[in-house]
């Protein structure tokens, strides 16, 4: 259907002027449109070029990005699975739980019954064994049977309370000078002297 035939099927439409559509344009619009578009194009090209040159990516970044993302996702899934095995807020309440357990008085366990049950028979048996051993060791201990080293150890351990007067009465033939005999002579000084003299020789001299 050609335009000249429009009036046959659309007389109302054909009455409307095609030239006076009512759409107008600013003055000189078509004279300046090329310059405007060229300027816009240059600005866009410059902007895109600048963006590409300014921001660079590491070599092969886009080849490896899928693998990196998938690895991170897998790690996240594993982490989430691990987290589900721990009760919610476990780490937030852990300190309080531990501290409350520390403060709680420990439960008293009475060992009396256990002691009677297990230790009493052992104690009785041990006592009987001791009596038996002591009765069988009735050998008399004499001074001669003691080794001089045992006596020295016994004296070194401070088990003898002896002073100069006692020594003089035991050994009357030993001449004591005043200095030694003085009351100021301490026990330590006496023992030092005795240690210097060979005690074994002294005993043997007697």
């Amino acid at each position: 259907m050609k335009r000249k035939d429009i009036h046959k099927i659309a007389p109302k439409l054909s009455e409307i002027s095609l030239k006076k559509t009512g759409f107008e344009i600013p003055e000189n619009y078509f004279e300046s449109i090329e310059d405007a578009i060229i300027a816009e194009l240059k600005a866009k090209t410059l902007l895109e070029k600048g963006t590409k040159e300014t921001f660079k990516t590491p070599e092969n970044y886009f080849d490896s990005i899928e693998e990196i993302v998938i690895s991170k996702l897998k790690a996240e899934v594993i982490q989430n699975n691990t987290e589900t095995t721990i009760p919610r807020d476990y780490f937030d309440t852990l300190e309080d739980q531990v501290l409350s357990k520390i403060k709680t008085t420990p439960k008293v366990i009475f060992l009396k019954s256990k002691f009677i049950k297990f230790l009493a028979p052992i104690a009785i048996a041990a006592s009987l064994l001791l009596v038996f051993v002591l009765n069988n060791n009735s050998t008399t201990v004499t001074f001669e049977s003691l080794a001089s080293s045992e006596i020295e150890t016994w004296i070194d351990n401070g088990n003898i309370d002896i002073d100069a007067l006692s020594i003089a009465s035991i050994y009357p033939e030993i001449e004591l000078n005043n200095e030694i005999y003085s009351a100021s002579l301490s026990d330590d000084e006496v023992f030092e002297y005795l240690n210097e003299e060979d005690l074994e020789d002294i005993i043997y001299e007697n």
Partner: protein, 183 residues
């Protein structure tokens, strides 16, 4: 024949970095008015048309290397312009949370306030009648009635068979006539 030769030369110049700027200026000079009016009939306002026209030419420039020359250059540019214009009004409708028919009704109402519109009542009525059509019929009507394009060329632009286009145009004219008669 000469036009085909001229077009081939123009495309070759557009693909050559040394000649592309001048060739692009020639291209714009050749098609700017036809594309402008094609876009204007879809978006109505001059400012919106200006935005869409600039984007159309920028897309043409950036994609000229992918132009296969199977179709005519101007059909290819018309297709880009049509897509840009429809995308523009779709986005505009989405921004306002309304559908296309609501937006188009609003656009015709806004024409009264538009300093770049001087149409009378009957012209506004015609515009409303066009916007009452399905979108594809609007495009066919505009390209055939106003631009007097051949059906083969419209077919290249819209990717619709010539037969379907003829039927579409016939239905569009009838609907507009009915719309006009109802007022």
């Amino acid at each position: 024949m000469k036009r085909v030769k001229d077009e081939e030369l123009l495309v070759a110049q557009l693909k050559n970095p040394d000649t592309q700027e001048q060739a692009f200026r020639d291209l714009m000079s050749l098609y700017k008015e036809r594309l402008y009016w094609h876009i204007r009939k879809i978006v109505l306002s001059h400012d919106d048309t200006d935005d869409v026209l600039q984007n159309t030419f920028i897309k043409v420039f950036k994609n000229i290397h992918s132009f296969k020359e199977n179709s005519k250059l101007y059909s290819w540019m018309y297709r880009i312009a049509t897509n840009e214009a429809i995308t523009f009004i779709n986005k505009k409708a989405a921004k306002q949370h309304i559908d296309i028919s609501e937006l188009q009704y609003k656009m015709t109402e806004d024409l009264q306030e538009d300093p770049n519109y001087s149409g009378d009542e009957i012209q506004q009525l015609l515009q409303k009648a066009i916007f009452s059509l399905p979108q594809k019929q609007q495009l066919v009507f505009n390209m055939k009635y106003y631009d007097e394009m051949k059906y083969n060329d419209i077919s290249e632009v819209l990717g619709t068979s010539v037969g379907a286009l003829k039927a579409s145009y016939f239905h569009a004219v009838k609907k507009i006539e009915e719309f006009l008669k109802s007022y």
